[in-house]
Amino acid sequence: MVESERVPIKEATAQDSKIEGPAPIAGERTAEMPTPKINKGPTHGLWALTKRDLRKWYTNPYQLIISLIQPVIWMGLFGKALNFSSFITAGAGAAGNPGAVTAAMLGFFGTTSYFSYLVCGMLVFIVVFNSAFSGMSVVWDRRFGFMNKALSTPVSRGAIVMAKILQSVGRSLIQAVVVLFIGIALGMDTGSLSAAGIAGTFVIIFLVAMGLSGLFVMLSLRSSNWQTQMAIINLLNLPLLFASNALFPVKIMPAWLQDVVKVNPISYCIDAIRQLLIGATGTYALWVDFSVAISFAAFFSIVGIVMSWRLLSK
């Protein structure tokens, strides 16, 4: 184009007579403008990508509110209606014998309050639900071409996957905090709450969120079809919930289901949270629960990153 259409330099470098003509929008840069220090590290762009996804979420409060409806319904309706201690009182002929009721409750649930028992399950349930949708954002990015755009930049393929995992973990942690507050407001037993217990709870939630997000992101990496993704979410969500100790104690389940629950990492996470938050008697020692959660998180994050190299560069 003609000279007059050249782009003027906006910076106050006008007095520097050496810079005339077009600003270095492309190609080599002028000597006056040193080449920026390009960050070539494997983690560059990770935070930028994570923040991009997170802001989509926190700038849209409806999404947060809607995602909280399910756990609130579970806690408020299911948790409040299933008053196990009155079942026992009425059914087992234990009326007038509060000691027997307490013993039965402790035997089944490891705690006297079924509602508190359920809240601990719901803390993890919201993580499962939220993580399941982490794959959806991969599918959308693929579909709208953002994924290809990111792939055409030198950002590490691992960072693309890690950002998806991290944004999901961030959302899970915040939602778990909100669910915990709702649980307390609805009457969760707060007698055993301690700072260390809460800290431990969120550490294990972090771990399980990491593992689950890694799993679902990995399942979505090659897909640009959101219907398939929805099917996967529905396929895995409820089985993960019911084949765990989120709603009922393992010991009242049939043997085959007990075996499934034992390999479901979510069970270990919930087991730990019950011990940490409401002082329930756990099925496993805390160190066992944490070891399982750490292995689960490490396995799927690593597999996710390894798969991303293979799947994203095809």
């Binding site: 184009m1 910076e11 190609g27 080599e28 560059h44 989509k56 709208f144 755009k149």
Partner: protein, 344 residues
């Protein structure tokens, strides 16, 4: 950059892209089949072909999004497969889709791209403002992209593709679905990039006038093969001369063979009352043809003379016109989405 005019697209310039025997198969289907070409420093190189001809697949291989099945490609001196990250750092990509994040402002989108290239914010902020001026979006820059028109989005994509100071910019169907006004604006920016910044541009298109008016050299690609490479004028010349269309009132007799004997005339075809005549110099041959027809006692009812267009060159080289053709379903859907977004 003051000496930006050096090494213009003329012959002898260094090749910035070297492609040798590049192929890509998806299962049994060969999307790109043994393609070889070179792009010279500072030229606008166009890939012209119908939907599904292999244009985007080639771009995807050159921008490291797809590994080639076989063959070699070097971009800015780096191998697209072995030195993918070096290629990514030195080129800019403007994809066919609208990839900008709708929930962010135009300015934030450019900065995000800068982050993905690892450019420090202090630098990318300054550069983003220059780029927004280049594409005339500085007033809309602080608005969410969801409020942008299709033309604005296309310009934003262009700015995003330039954030890393690329030496070579890939543009996949840069004006797909745009209105005439925006299309002209995009062409202006493309010419400006070449002229003011000595940038090399590689664009794909299925608009003939775009290839004709914008590109220094064109490769016509069809069914994954490059049919011909040359300047627009060379391609047109290869069709073989001007086309004279003569309408005659009388259907009989057929004077095709007589017309064919007129000086400069190369070929004659008759359809109904019309003669379609190809001649090396149409302006000179026409009077002789009219004289001949009149001497046979026939009457000329209409006459037209046209210089060869790229359209005809394309028809001649591929045996087809550049109309909408069957293509794979996903490419089609993606293209429709782009077009509907462009028009919103």
């Amino acid at each position: 950059m003051i000496s930006a005019q050096k090494g213009r697209a003329g012959d002898g310039s260094a090749a910035i892209v070297k492609v040798e025997g590049l192929s890509k198969s998806f299962g049994q289907q060969k999307a790109v089949d043994n393609v070889s070409f070179e792009i010279r420093q500072g030229e606008i190189f166009g890939f012209l072909g119908p939907n599904g001809a292999g244009k985007s697949t080639t771009i995807n291989m050159l921008t490291t999004l797809l590994p080639p099945t076989s063959g070699k490609a070097e971009v800015c001196g780096f191998d697209v497969h072995k030195q993918a990250n070096d290629v990514r750092r030195s080129v800019g990509v403007v994809p066919q889709d609208y990839t900008a994040d709708e929930d962010m402002t135009g300015y934030e989108n450019i900065l995000l791209c800068g982050d993905l290239y690892g450019i420090p914010r202090s630098d990318s902020k300054r550069h983003a403002e220059q780029l927004l001026q280049l594409v005339e979006l500085q007033d809309a820059a602080k608005r969410k992209v969801s409020t942008f028109s299709g033309g604005m989005r296309r310009r934003l994509e262009l700015a995003c593709g330039l954030i890393n100071y690329p030496k070579l910019l890939f543009l996949d169907e840069p004006t797909l679905g745009l209105d005439v006004q925006t299309r002209t604006a995009v062409w202006k920016y493309i010419r400006q990039l070449k002229q003011d910044y000595n940038m090399t541009l590689f664009l794909t298109t299925h608009y003939l006038e775009e290839a004709d008016g914008l590109c220094d050299r064109i490769a016509i690609i069809d069914h994954g093969h490059i049919v011909k490479i040359g300047t627009p004028d060379e391609l047109k010349a290869s069709v073989g001369g001007d086309v004279i269309l003569v309408g005659v009132k009388e259907t009989e007799p057929d004077v095709s063979s007589e017309i064919a004997k007129v000086d400069l005339v190369k070929a004659v075809t008759k359809t109904g009352n019309d003669y379609r005549i190809k001649a090396d110099d149409g302006a000179e041959a026409t009077p002789a043809i009219i004289d001949l027809i009149r001497s046979k006692g026939m009457h000329v009812s209409k006459i037209s003379l046209s210089r060869p267009t790229l359209d005809e060159a394309y028809l001649e080289l591929t045996g087809r016109t550049l109309r909408e053709e069957e293509t794979n379903k996903w490419a089609m859907m993606s293209q429709r989405r782009t077009m509907s977004a462009a028009r919103s």
